[in-house]
């Protein structure tokens, strides 16, 4: 195996995966991936379509549990605690490990309600005034406050695609997660909206551990400090982003980032 050559451990990891395998029925989608995700950088997962990067991302907050045929082996820890252990409550896990999806998916409710929903179900707000504070803070962090502060009670689905995606990021932030997983968050957005989301990711770095799956290698180079290259269910190479892009150690990584396949 080629993984020994890659630098997969980091100091003080927020989440770490060891020999994770994912099966969909008989088909193996992830073939033993070990990786550490740090608190103070953005980690990008890149790779061609169908390489398993989204599948692996979804194991980090157990969203694969909703797929009846999916089976996960190996160990994934959050702050050293195995998230697949029976003692781990999956609802609480998903509050601590938030997720932003490929297609903006705001609830068909008001902007305010979209943000307030998470804090409400987790009992984070002590009354209406407190909730107002949480909503404003979350929308500010999501870079959306100035655009929507006068129409908080309009439907979230009436916003533009880019605004909807920032609303979804704000919704994830509102429950004060420790990790935010982003599954190709810009693939449905235009370049200007994409630039805004990337800017937002920069601002959120350090406060949350961020893992982003992207098709777009330039995006990975722009927003991330660590990059993992997946291919056919394998983690081929993982390292500091600038190293991966300027000096890949693996032949397959080099072929991919130079555009030979993907």
């Amino acid at each position: 195996m080629t993984q020994e050559q890659t630098n997969l451990t980091i100091d003080n990891p927020k989440m770490s995966a060891r020999d994770v395998k994912v099966f969909y029925g008989e088909k193996q989608a992830i073939k033993g991936v070990s990786i550490d995700v740090g608190m103070d950088h953005v980690t990008a997962f890149i790779g061609p379509s169908g390489c398993g990067k989204s599948t692996f991302l979804r194991t980090l907050n157990r969203m694969n549990d909703t797929v009846a045929s999916a089976r996960v082996e190996g160990e994934i820890t959050l702050d050293g605690e195995n998230i697949y252990a029976p003692s781990m409550d999956v609802v609480q896990l998903r509050a601590r490990v938030g997720m932003v999806f490929q297609k903006p998916n705001p609830f068909p409710k008001s902007i305010y309600e979209n943000i307030a929903y998470g804090p409400r179900i987790h009992g984070l707000a002590a009354g209406k005034a407190d909730m107002d504070v949480i909503v404003e803070k979350s929308l500010r962090r999501a870079g959306l406050w100035d655009e929507v502060k006068d129409r908080l009670h309009d439907s979230g689905t009436a916003l533009s695609g880019g605004q909807q995606q920032r609303l979804c990021i704000g919704r994830a932030i509102a429950v004060e997660p420790e990790v935010i997983l982003m599954d190709e968050p810009c693939s449905a957005l235009d370049p200007i909206a994409t630039a805004k989301i990337e800017e937002l990711i920069h601002e959120l770095r350090g406060r949350y551990a961020i893992v982003i799956v992207t098709h777009n290698m330039q995006q990975a180079a722009r927003v991330s400090q660590r990059t993992a290259f997946f291919h056919l269910g394998d983690l081929v190479e993982y390292g500091v982003t600038s190293d991966i892009f300027t000096n890949p150690r693996q032949e397959r990584t080099k072929d991919y980032i130079t555009g030979r396949y993907g």
Binding site: M63, Q92, N105
Partner: protein, 413 residues
């Protein structure tokens, strides 16, 4: 590889193909228009004939009968008017005598056989009329009623002309039809008993079938694992929705009446039987509505840590509700028009008093229509049509409510 000639878009064959395509389109349009016009004309025919017959059913011909109480053979003490005294006063005979004085020898054929009830009620309302001559409106007989409103026998037509000249004949809206119940005299029957019976039956059906149906749909869609066991349940539910309604009547008869000994002819049993029939419809519509909720909404809710129950009740159910309501209304409308299963559980009995509760003997609108259409008396023909109008109005009101609720809960994306 052989070289092919470039396509000639202007060739004769191409022109014909285009013409054929347009012709097919015109034929299809015409066929659709024809179908729409045909069904619309059937509907118009139904409405016109029903309104023509039925609206007359809402009116009643009355005769202003002059009653000279002091001169009548009525033996009643104005100070002691009790139900018992009235019952012993032989009012039917007295009414006959009084009518002969006022209207001539053929009075028996002119007045409804139950005209004495109006006189009794007038005395009860105001006993002082016993000491003077009063004019009391009493219903005309069926024959006279028909002659006054449309076409009757020649003798009756002549009587109508004579009474009209006297100025004692009037045709007006029959409030009794909306407040009375079934009876033997078509001039005195009303729809209220059957209407209330339908209302109570539908209430029982809704209360039983809606929560159970929605819960079943939610469980099957959101919780149940997909295995052969749930496949069997799904096939069974689909089959149940297609079972002829009379079979449900037999089921109700054997379980609710013979096994559980619930009261016969009651709205409770009728509602339970119809609930059995409605539930599969609600389950199927509910499952389809739940399936059509976008998975991205589930992901969004799960992704911020909503529990499965919260996802279902705070996101999936509200979004599926318009579809569920549509299915429920279709099922309820079918149940409202259902006769066969109710006949099996005894709801075809002659019931002359409106049901006081869900365990009292009751009948429902379609069964009432069925019973009246079977009556020999000619006066029931227009009552049957009038009852159909009431049933359709009930249905329309129910559908209107459903459309209102659906629009209210509909989410704009």
């Amino acid at each position: 590889m052989s070289t092919r000639n470039p396509t000639d878009w202007k060739s004769e064959a191409m022109r014909k193909r285009i013409a054929g395509r347009y012709a097919a389109e015109r034929r299809f349009k015409f066929a659709g228009l024809f179908a729409v016009v045909l069904s619309a004309s059937f509907l118009a025919f139904l409405l016109v004939t029903m309104m023509g017959n039925g609206l007359r059913g809402f009116t009643r011909t009355e005769i202003a009968l002059k009653v000279d109480f002091p001169a009548s053979p009525l033996l009643l003490d104005p100070k002691a008017i009790t139900d018992e005294a009235l019952a012993n006063a032989n009012l039917p005979m007295v009414t006959g005598t009084v009518a002969k004085t006022a209207l001539g020898d053929k009075a028996d054929a002119l007045l409804s056989p139950t005209a004495w009830i109006n006189i009794r009620d007038a005395i009860k309302a105001d006993p002082t009329i016993l000491s003077r001559t009063a004019t009391i409106s009493v219903p005309a007989s069926t024959g006279l009623d028909l002659a006054a409103k449309s076409k009757g026998s020649p003798e009756m037509e002549a009587e109508v002309a004579r009474l009209k000249q006297q100025g004692v004949l009037s045709t007006g809206f029959n409030f009794g039809f909306l407040t009375a119940s079934d009876g033997t005299d078509p001039t005195q029957v009303g729809i209220w008993g059957a209407f209330k019976g339908s209302l109570l039956t539908m209430l029982v059906t809704l209360i039983l079938s809606f929560p159970v149906g929605v819960a079943t749909a939610l469980y099957l869609e959101e919780y149940a694992r997909k295995n052969w066991w749930t496949d069997i349940i799904e096939v069974s539910i689909n089959n149940l929705a297609a079972v002829p309604s009379i079979i449900f009547g037999l089921l109700g008869l054997s379980i609710f009446l013979n096994l559980a000994h619930l009261p016969r002819s009651a709205a409770l049993v009728g509602g339970m039987t119809l609930a059995l029939m409605t539930m599969p419809v609600i389950v199927i519509a509910g499952r389809n509505a739940i399936k059509s909720v976008p998975p991205s909404i589930r992901d969004a809710a799960l992704g911020i840590g909503a529990s499965p129950v919260q996802v279902v009740f705070q996101h999936v159910l509200p979004l599926a509700l318009p579809g569920i309501l549509t299915g429920t209304i279709i099922g309820m409308a079918r149940a409202l028009g259902e006769t066969a299963p109710l006949l099996m559980i005894g709801m075809r009995a002659f019931i002359a008093t409106p049901p006081g509760g869900i365990t009292d003997p009751a009948t429902v609108l379609p069964v009432q229509i069925f019973l009246w259409s079977d009556e020999v008396s000619k006066g029931f023909v227009e009552k049957t049509s009038a009852a159909i109008i009431v049933l359709l109005a009930f249905l329309l009101a129910m559908n209107g409510l459903a459309i209102y609720l659906r629009n209210k809960f509909e989410t704009r994306w």
